[in-house]
């Protein structure tokens, strides 16, 4: 059984896990970081998006062993203190969630999107969200939240 070690939300963790353990299973079941959700489990919905070495990836389509030695950030690590992350605060302000199931993946996707493109146009925002599905179809307010988080006028 492979021994893996990685940094998760700034903390060093290690474990022995079967090679066929998905990263999302490791995060949720071994580390009890249940903020990362499994929606479709077929790499389509983006509810499981986390950052590995600073890039948004689907943790249901990544093996835990692939992240051996990596730095992982989940929704729990985004704002470790009492204050929300800018993107989380914008989601709250714009009421960018209904059932909330897709929200952790959406927020992690948006943080990565804004890191690469701090002032995205509405079209770029919608393309940037193409890997995340909201089953409540609440996309409009999510786009608004991205505009708020990036300090832009709300057009959506």
């Amino acid at each position: 059984m492979p021994k893996i070690a990685m940094t998760v939300n700034g903390k060093q963790v290690s474990a022995d896990v079967p090679a066929n353990t998905l990263l999302v299973e490791f995060l949720r079941k071994d580390l009890m970081l249940t903020g990362t959700h499994v929606g479709c489990d077929t790499s389509q919905c983006g509810a499981c998006v986390v950052h590995v070495n600073g890039h948004a990836i689907k943790s249901c389509t990544t093996l835990a062993v692939q992240a051996n030695g990596a730095s992982v950030m989940t929704i729990e690590g985004l704002a470790p203190g009492a204050d929300l992350h800018t993107v989380q605060a914008a989601f709250k302000e714009a009421h960018a969630l209904q059932c909330g199931y897709c929200t952790p993946g959406m927020v992690m996707a948006v943080v990565d999107m804004l890191k690469n493109n701090p002032k995205p146009t509405e079209t770029q925002i919608r393309h940037g969200l193409s890997g995340n599905i909201c089953r409540c179809t609440g996309y409009h307010n999510i786009v608004k939240a991205v505009q708020i988080a990036s300090g832009q006028a709300v057009t959506a």
Partner: protein, 265 residues
């Protein structure tokens, strides 16, 4: 997923050795196809050989009149690479349109080209731009590399090291996506060089990516949208599936080709 062993060699030589140890071993690139396939229990490798630890497989370099992209370079890194954007903008744009942002952060050019999914984007670029697949044992020209749906000229134990794209074509890629999967229902890559016009079609061929002789003949008379007016693509050899019949794809291919020609630069 079935149980398997996992290794992450640090050198290409070790990877080839590990791969050759059993016919049941499989290389792992970005995993965006292989991992879902394994989750569905449609693949059962004995040992996965993760190529992520091999530094020489990553990155983009300009080599004379070519761009050489390491097999383990992600779609996002190709899309954002300044050399690719400057030298072959159509290739950067194609990479930036694969799947979604998260897939592009994981998926690799080598994985895509080795898998040869009939609806993948990269094979169209490789074929239209007349690229060369550089493997651990030889160099394979694009025209003899793609041998059928999910089939390539790669031999067991042979790994893609890099892909070399010649610079200088006026080119563009346009695709009509299947809305749910974002795979190409019809994708057309056009490339115009002094040597002629090459038109590669993905998403549509029963045997995977292919060059369209009628579209190349039409564009040989003049690389313009007008030259494609009246061009007919036969439905023979095209895919029919729940997303569209062969006849439907045959009628859409020239339209997408027109869009690609209009966008070519």
């Amino acid at each position: 997923m079935y149980a398997f062993d996992y290794v992450r060699p640090a050198s290409l030589a070790d990877a080839v050795k590990a791969l050759g140890a059993s016919e049941e071993n499989r290389p792992l690139a970005g995993g965006q196809t292989l991992i879902p396939t394994m989750k569905q229990r449609l693949a059962m490798p004995a040992t996965l050989i993760d190529l992520a630890g091999i530094a020489e497989l990553k990155g983009v370099r300009r080599d004379g009149n070519a761009i050489v992209i390491g097999a383990m370079t992600t779609h996002a890194d190709v899309a954002g690479n300044a050399d690719v954007k400057a030298a072959i903008p159509a290739l950067a744009a194609l990479a930036g349109g694969i799947g979604d942002p998260h897939v592009r952060n994981s998926g690799t050019i080598g994985g895509s080209v080795a898998n040869n999914d009939p609806a993948a984007d990269y094979p169209a670029a490789v074929l239209a731009l007349n690229a060369t697949i550089i493997t651990t044992t030889r160099e394979i020209p694009a025209d003899s590399y793609f041998t059928g749906m999910f089939k390539t000229a790669l031999q067991p134990g042979e790994l893609i090291k890099a892909i070399r794209f010649p610079i200088g074509a006026k080119a563009a890629y346009s695709k009509f996506e299947q809305r749910a999967s974002r795979y190409a229902l019809v994708g057309v890559f056009v490339a115009h060089t002094g040597a002629g016009v090459r038109v590669a079609v993905t998403g549509s061929g029963a045997g995977g990516v292919f060059r369209s002789a009628p579209l190349e003949a039409a564009l040989a008379k003049g690389f313009s949208v007008d030259a494609l007016k009246g061009a007919v693509v036969p439905s023979t050899g095209l895919l029919s599936d729940i997303h569209g019949s062969a006849e439907y794809r045959a009628s859409v291919i020239p339209v997408i080709a027109e869009r690609a020609v209009a966008a070519a630069r």
